[in-house]
């Protein structure tokens, strides 16, 4: 019976955590259905239900922002995975003199103060004609996503023993065929998990994206910023809430998909 009490307390803890986490999300969901005036009030459900904010999502800047965000995050995930995968292979399979140092320098890119990079990014992208394009945001985000991709992929890859590589080569595989037929299938869960994190950090980032876009390629996060006025009633709270709800959907789908990979036990075993 002692064990049961302890387990119940642990579960109660988890339930409390879930409640606290869900509360702002619940607030956002219910605000998205409230009339503009009612959003300001403390009511726990919409007294006057409206879907007008969602209607606004389908038009003009909002719709463009949503499609931009999808394009940016997808492209960024693909590009960063393509760059990170071979790098992770190099770090886990080849021992070279500078490997720990280089890995450290990759990770540390995340410390780059975003505010400081706004001006250089502006200059670089403007002079290469990439300013205000999806590619600009994709490149900007790869600053912190490529290192993260390498970090996570290395963790998974180091759990695959090098004997697998050796056996494949003995069997006559070329390196390319080894990649395609053996390594990639083994790394599929890893790629899924990495893709989730890459996608998530790109989807939710605002500062760098706002620095390199203006009227065309801005993602949802920047569009939301535009709605933030200095007057309480100036902010389009309803639209912001609706945008928030919509922006959760791809993430939830990815979460459900990736969950079993994370909890299945591959991972982060060593790096």
């Amino acid at each position: 019976m002692k064990i049961n009490i302890k387990r119940s307390l642990q579960l109660a803890f988890i339930v409390i955590v879930i409640i606290v986490i869900l509360f702002p999300i619940y607030w956002m969901v219910q605000s998205s259905f409230k009339e503009k005036g009612e959003i300001m009030e403390v009511t726990f459900y919409p007294h006057k239900f409206t879907t007008s904010h969602y209607g606004a999502m389908a038009t003009g800047d909002w719709a463009r922002a949503i499609t931009n965000s999808v394009g940016i995050s997808l492209l960024n995930t693909v590009i960063c995975l393509l760059a990170a995968f071979p790098a992770a292979y190099a770090f886990t399979r080849f021992r070279f003199k500078a490997d720990t140092h280089l890995f450290f320098w990759f990770i540390v890119n995340r410390l780059a103060p975003p505010a400081a990079f706004l001006v250089p990014f502006f200059i670089i992208f403007l002079s290469t004609g990439l300013y205000d394009t999806i590619l600009a945001v994709v490149l900007a985000h790869s600053l912190f996503n490529v290192p993260l991709g390498i970090w996570i992929l290395s963790g998974f890859m180091s759990d695959i023993p090098t004997e697998v590589d050796e056996a494949a080569f003995i069997d006559g595989h070329s390196r390319l065929s080894f990649f395609r037929r053996i390594l990639l299938p083994l790394m599929r869960p890893a790629i899924g998990v990495t893709a989730f994190f890459l996608w998530m950090f790109s989807w939710t980032e605002m500062l760098l994206a706002s620095a390199v876009t203006r009227n065309i390629a801005f993602p949802l996060t920047v569009q939301l910023l535009v709605t933030r006025g200095s007057l309480m009633y100036g902010v389009l709270w309803g639209e912001a809430a609706a945008a928030g709800v919509i922006s959760m959907i791809p993430g939830i789908i990815l979460l459900i998909f990736v969950r079993r990979y994370i909890t299945r036990g591959f991972v982060l075993g060593r790096i």
Binding site: I18, V42, F94, I107, P113, L139, M206
Partner: protein, 284 residues
């Protein structure tokens, strides 16, 4: 390094050359100049750095930022670890709990900031509920605002820490734990000596990512309160953004950013050395 190694690292290095290396050189260069938009740049040596280090507002931001990071790590790491340890791992509840707890991660930071602002402002649901229990919460109060931002950050990022540790627990070999139990070890000793040891690299990843991200935090404090009464929530990013970019003073801004960068770099290095006991990030 062999050619083969270079080839595998090339795509990543190329991307980072454009997005990190070159801008870094530009910023480094700016920091030694007096560069105000619209005027000529003049070389001033270390003046900008001296100016930053003697500016009380800058130093206050730095101290505040570091204190914020320390508080964040002290709260989020243990909490995330506890969640990963106690969350149901099998059965229907497991999937639901996992997805629900991870929800804050997929909300754009701006939205999170806006919703919290809606909830925290005077007349919002949080002060109203708190006053019902006798607590007078006001977003105008500097300390309360600071703590509120800490809570918002914890709400947002504890799930990430929990995710990392969940993966760590899943990868943990169970035999040592079973053996220890047979030998009669208490749960606490098992946790302290076996589990924590196996979680070393997830711990490293969680600590580093949270430190790096909370040091540079921008969206949520900015949206909730600008930099707050008496700059109480002005940290690195908001400080650089406001005092330097706001005035188009790029030279000074560059120097400020680089001071922050090198400070954080040193801290990250120390953290890595402590957690991996001197072996470095790759554990070799």
């Amino acid at each position: 390094m062999k050619t083969k190694t270079w080839m595998f690292l090339l795509p990543a290095l190329a991307l980072l050359a454009i997005t990190a290396f070159i801008p870094f050189i530009v910023v480094f260069n700016y920091s030694f100049h007096s560069l105000i938009a619209g005027k000529e740049a003049t070389f001033v040596g270390f003046n900008q750095y001296a100016r930053a280090l003697t500016d009380p507002r800058f130093m206050a931001s730095m101290g505040r930022g570091l204190g914020f990071c320390a508080l964040i790590l002290a709260i989020e790491i243990p909490l995330g670890l506890a969640i990963a340890k106690f969350i149901p791992k099998r059965g229907k509840l497991a999937a639901i709990a996992f997805v629900l707890i991870s929800l804050p991660l997929v909300v754009p930071w701006v939205t999170g900031g806006l919703m919290w602002r809606l909830m925290l402002r005077s007349g919002g649901v949080v002060p109203v509920l708190l006053s019902n229990v006798g607590i007078n919460f006001s977003i105008e109060h500097p300390t309360q605002l600071f703590l509120a931002v800490v809570v918002v950050d914890a709400w947002h990022w504890v799930p990430l820490v929990a995710l990392i540790f969940t993966a760590g627990y899943a990868a943990m070999p169970k035999e040592p734990i079973q053996a220890a139990k047979i030998d009669g070890a208490s749960n606490w000793r098992i946790f302290r000596h076996i589990e924590l040891h196996a979680l070393k690299f997830p711990l490293l990843m969680a600590v580093l990512i949270r430190f790096m991200d909370s040091f540079r935090i921008f969206d949520e404090p900015y949206i909730i309160a600008g930099d707050g009464p008496y700059h109480c929530v002005e940290f690195l990013s908001t400080n650089v953004y406001g005092t330097t970019l706001g005035a188009f003073n790029f030279g000074y801004g560059a120097a400020c950013s680089l001071i922050y960068f090198f400070l954080a770099l040193a801290i990250v290095f120390v953290l890595i050395m402590i957690i991996t006991r001197g072996r470095g990030v790759l554990g070799r």
